[in-house]
């Protein structure tokens, strides 16, 4: 048992076990993985150290995920991706296989809603597809700064639905088109098609209820939306 376990005693572990979907053993395991990311910080603070976004992204399970920044932003209190151990534990618990489908749908919606306005509109979808395409694009990947920029490029859904703006900046487009895996035009069409499929109340974007309805019918969703440490 490492140093991290001395930070929490049995009653606290029991509380963690009650508050999350983990058992005590798993809580300790999560703590161990957390401590591995930034050993000095954990040594110093011990109880509830706050790690920065970059440090958390060192985790291999997250690093391979195209939506990693969004996941961190959704689960961190401040909204910038830095989180302490409790939030990390919360995140891992919600993403584990024991969390119920509803919780997963909630968090999936938040992750995919890039501009955080309660709707997944075409903007958001285009960004989702962009990030899905990212790992396949060899040789022209966006740097982490550019990724952050794409995420932060928040245009509210109502505005852009009326006008047909390109939501991807020039750089983003060229990064993808250069490798001609998928064209900008195709991304737009795909976004439109997804909205057509999922939108039930015909307002041009996917609200939480549409999303929930759609995802609960989708069998592959529950299995794919989990991260195990």
């Amino acid at each position: 048992m490492g140093q991290g376990t001395s930070a929490y005693d049995q009653s606290e572990l029991a509380e963690f076990q009650d508050l999350t979907y983990f058992t005590k053993r798993e809580v300790l395991h999560v703590h161990k993985r957390f401590a591995e990311l930034a050993p000095e910080k954990v040594k110093q603070h011990g109880r509830n150290p706050t790690l920065t976004k970059e440090e958390i992204l060192l985790l291999p399970e997250l690093a391979a995920n195209p939506f990693k920044e969004r996941i961190l932003e959704v689960f961190s209190d401040a909204g910038d991706g830095n989180m302490n151990f409790e939030q990390f534990l919360d995140m891992m618990s919600q993403l584990s296989s024991k969390a119920p489908l509803e919780t997963k749908i909630d968090f999936a919606f938040k992750i995919y809603d890039f501009n955080e306005d309660g709707q997944i509109c075409e903007n958001d979808l285009q960004k989702v597809i962009l990030f899905l395409v990212q790992p396949a694009v060899t040789g022209a990947t966006l740097t982490s700064d550019e990724r952050n920029q794409v995420i932060k490029n928040q245009k509210s859904c109502r505005v852009s639905n009326k006008k047909e703006e390109t939501v991807l900046t020039e750089k983003e487009i060229s990064a993808i088109v250069r490798n001609s895996l998928i064209t900008d035009d195709q991304i737009k069409k795909l976004a439109q098609k997804v909205i057509n499929e999922m939108d039930m109340d015909d307002d041009g974007s996917i609200s939480y209820l549409d999303f929930k309805h759609g995802m609960s019918k989708l069998n592959g969703f529950e299995e794919s939306f989990k991260v195990t440490l």
Partner: protein
């Protein structure tokens, strides 16, 4: 809806319903007077199981108020007044902890105040204890009893969830075989062993086949110990020779029944022959039931999805978060793009993409390729049958009459003469003779899938998924064909035309096999062994060697583009299905086969896991999990049916061997059963006799058909209801939209001092609609903003 009456002693917990917007958010007040709007669902704390949730003081009240709580689609946080919609805000860990502590305190106070008598207190404590332990048991079961759980998670992380289907099928096969192994061991091998030992103690003579022939398989004509050792080892693989005399095969088992002396009378306690027969039947019944249960579960899930199939969303929103490897995520991303593009193409161009001429050409091409495939399969099968049958007729002429030295393809002993000659060609010839059957079957299992894949590429399918499905079907049919042929040959060889029925007394020397069940058992056992060896060989050469080359020799990787072998799920799963088919077929003739099966499955798992983690890349096209699981289960069922037919034919058509096995001496396999029935009481006999008449059977069939029809019409009516409800939802939304639009218009107009009677709906009608909307709570809340 009035605010619920609160009679809790503390006042720190206030529950109120937010009436204005008709939503059901609940206001909690902290000690610090911070208001937290809580999602109704969030007060159900995320315990591992809902069982242990202590009833919070307000929850029962909540339940009565919110009879549609299951339908309420979450609540809206206080921003709703601004007209904006936000997602239900689940509490963070810290907040949950706070409110949970609050509730606990409150609950304790409540409970403490209300428990009057000691008995009720005691009983409630008992109840909580029981609930807790149940919950614990469930947690343990989920966490610790997943067979190979960690390994599968690791593989999932590297290769994705679809590859895991293969390993899950392995786990499921293991479960079935373990159950059957326990059945077999407990009911057959155990008592059989005891009885044999018992009889040897009491020196009762069991008329054994060894008495009949001087069959000493290891009778070596003075050629030395090493030959004997080699022979023994080889015989481990062929299942003949010394193995025939072990518990492995049918022939070893005694026929007598276990009797005890009770009060001076001999009473049969355990009818061994009957037990053997019944366990054989149970084996199939158990497998069938397990598979059906699994299949029905999967069907339900996939049927719900088929109703509303969303090709785009299902790809975009189901990125596999399990993937922990950058390379794998890259491949996955590529496959996502591919499937998305395919869907786009299909939508835009549809079926008119190809010109008429090309379509006709392609049609003929496909007919041709299908014929080629069929011809290939049938040709192989035919050649195989011909060769085996001609060999058998040859060897019949060549049989010698010296003890233990029959060079005979049927007894499958490696001819000692061949070894003595030390001639390579005759050695090979003997080798081929003994193993030809199994080699052909295993070889075709390996080569044909490759062949089918190439043909699939040739046929120019538009979509990868169709191509994969076609290849899958072809491989499956090929496997069925080969196994069916193999079984048919066994049937022929052991059956009336080939086996010994009445000849044994006269022609002692032309005894080919004095125990045809053993022959079948050993052939199947041999097939399993060879198949396993071929599997290891493929693993070694195709996967390990190839990945070794690819990683070391950069030239091949960069210039030619050779990669590690792709994990082809469909082929591998069909291979598993084939193995399971052989296990099923062999159980009746070799009761220890499930042990072999279990060992083999365990070994295969670890080998495959090793190979999957190092030598293999995930497949390029992603197959949706539940659909494929249902298909796989269906294929397993079909193969079980084929095996069933074979065993049924054997049991009902052949006469049991006279000198070996638990049915020796009987005229038919079903005799023990009929004997028992005949000796039973008159009433039981009457019942059984009547139950097995055709009339009863017909009635049962009609009943089953009626039940099926009932469920089918139920499903159809439910579909209709779904459509109607959808329509209703759409209408409601349209109405609300209209109302909102008109209200806003009216508001703006009233500001400019105009009459309010303008509008589509009058004021009273609007009020009516509003009331109606608040009634239909669940449906009405589908809109983003409320009135």
């Amino acid at each position: 809806m009035d605010p619920p009456e609160e009679d809790s002693p503390t006042k720190s917990l206030l529950m109120s319903e937010d009436k204005e917007n008709g939503s059901t958010s609940i206001k909690l007040e902290d000690d610090d007077d911070n208001e937290i709007y809580v999602n109704k669902d969030a007060t159900d704390f995320p315990d591992n199981d809902a069982v242990d949730r202590e009833p919070s003081p307000g929850s029962s009240l909540m339940k009565t108020e919110s009879r549609k709580s299951s339908e309420s689609y979450g609540t809206f946080s206080p921003d709703v007044n601004k007209g904006e919609n936000t997602v239900p805000r689940n509490l963070t860990l810290a907040e949950r902890r706070k409110s949970r502590r609050k509730q606990r305190e409150q609950f304790k106070l409540m409970r403490f105040g209300s428990s009057s008598s000691g008995i009720s207190h005691f009983t409630s404590k008992c109840v909580t204890f029981v609930e807790r332990s149940l919950k614990q048991a469930k947690v343990i079961k989920q966490n610790h009893f997943r067979i190979w759980g960690t390994s599968i998670k690791k593989i999932e992380g590297q290769l994705g969830s679809s590859v895991c289907t293969y390993f899950k099928v392995l786990v499921w096969m293991l479960k079935i075989n373990v159950v059957c192994m326990i059945l077999g061991l407990g009911l057959i091998v155990g008592p059989g062993g005891y009885m044999t030992w018992h009889h040897s103690q009491t020196k009762e003579t069991i008329f054994n086949k060894d008495d009949l022939t001087c069959n000493n398989p290891n009778f070596v004509n003075g050629t030395g110990f090493h030959v004997e050792a080699v022979n023994s080892v080889l015989q481990l693989f062929t299942g003949t020779g010394w193995m025939e005399n072990t518990a492995m095969f049918y022939g070893w088992y005694p026929t007598s029944n276990l009797t005890t002396n009770m009060q001076g009378k001999e009473k049969t306690v355990y009818y061994f022959s009957l037990a053997y027969f019944s366990v054989g039947c149970c084996y199939f019944a158990v497998s069938l039931l397990l598979m059906l249960a699994n299949l029905s579960k999967l069907f339900k899930k996939s049927a719900a999805e088929q109703l509303e199939y969303k090709p785009y969303s299902s790809v975009v929103f189901t990125w596999d978060y399990n993937i922990a490897d950058t390379e794998a995520s890259q491949l996955r991303s590529v496959s996502v793009i591919q499937s998305l593009k395919e869907e786009l193409d299909e939508d835009e161009q549809g079926d008119t993409k190809r010109s008429l001429l090309t379509q006709v050409g392609i049609f003929f091409l496909r007919v041709l390729t299908n014929l080629i495939c069929l011809a290939a399969v049938i040709g192989t099968v035919y050649l195989y049958v011909k060769e085996v049958l001609t060999e058998s007729t040859e060897s019949r002429a060549n049989s010698t009459d010296s003890c233990g030295q029959l060079i005979n393809e049927k007894t499958l002993e490696i001819g000692l003469e061949a070894i003595q000659l030390e001639d390579l060609s005759s050695h090979l010839a003997a080798f081929w003779k003994t193993y030809s059957a199994s080699i052909i079957v295993s070889g075709s299992n390996v080569l044909f899938p490759v062949f089918f894949e190439l043909i699939g590429l040739l046929e120019m399918y538009q979509f990868q998924s169709t191509r994969i499905r076609v290849t899958l079907v072809r491989t499956f049919i090929m496997k069925l064909f080969t196994v069916a042929t193999f079984l048919y040959l066994l049937y022929r060889a052991a059956g009336p035309s080939g086996g010994i029925t009445e000849d044994w007394q006269t022609e002692k020397n032309t005894l080919f096999y004095n125990c045809w069940e053993d022959y079948i058992g050993s052939q199947l056992y041999q097939l399993i062994m060879i198949d396993f060896l071929v599997f290891c060989a493929v693993l070694l050469f195709c996967e390990a060697f190839r990945s070794f080359i690819v990683t070391r020799v950069a030239f091949l990787r960069d210039k030619i583009g050779l990669t590690k072998r792709e994990f082809n799920i469909s082929t591998e799963v069909l291979d598993l299905m084939y193995k399971q088919m052989i296990f099923w077929a062999g159980f009746y003739f070799a009761p220890l086969l499930p042990i072999v099966a279990v060992i083999e499955i365990i070994v295969i798992f670890y080998l495959k896991k090793l190979s999957a983690l190092t030598n293999v890349v995930p497949p390029k096209t992603v197959v949706l999990n539940h659909q494929s699981s249902a298909t796989i289960n269906g294929l397993f069922l079909i193969s079980l049916l084929v095996v069933f037919v074979f065993i049924g034919l054997v049991i009902f058509n052949f006469q049991p061997s006279q000198f070996c096995g638990p049915f020796r001496g009987y005229k038919r396999f079903t005799d023990p059963l009929s004997n028992v029935i005949n000796h039973a009481t008159v009433l039981k006999k009457f019942i059984i006799d009547n139950l097995t008449t055709t009339a009863v059977l017909v009635i049962l069939i009609i009943l089953v058909l009626l039940v099926i029809y009932y469920y089918k019409s139920l499903a159809a009516s439910r579909n209709v209801t779904i459509e109607l409800l959808k329509e209703q939802v759409r209408n409601e939304i349209a109405e609300k939209e209209e109302i909102l639009h008109r209200t806003q218009k009216n508001r703006s107009k009233s500001l400019s001092n105009e009459k309010e009677t303008d509008g589509f709906y009058s004021k009273e009608k609007r009020k009516q609609l509003k009331r109606k909307n608040t009634e239909l709570h669940g449906f009405a809340n589908l809109r983003k903003s409320d009135l």
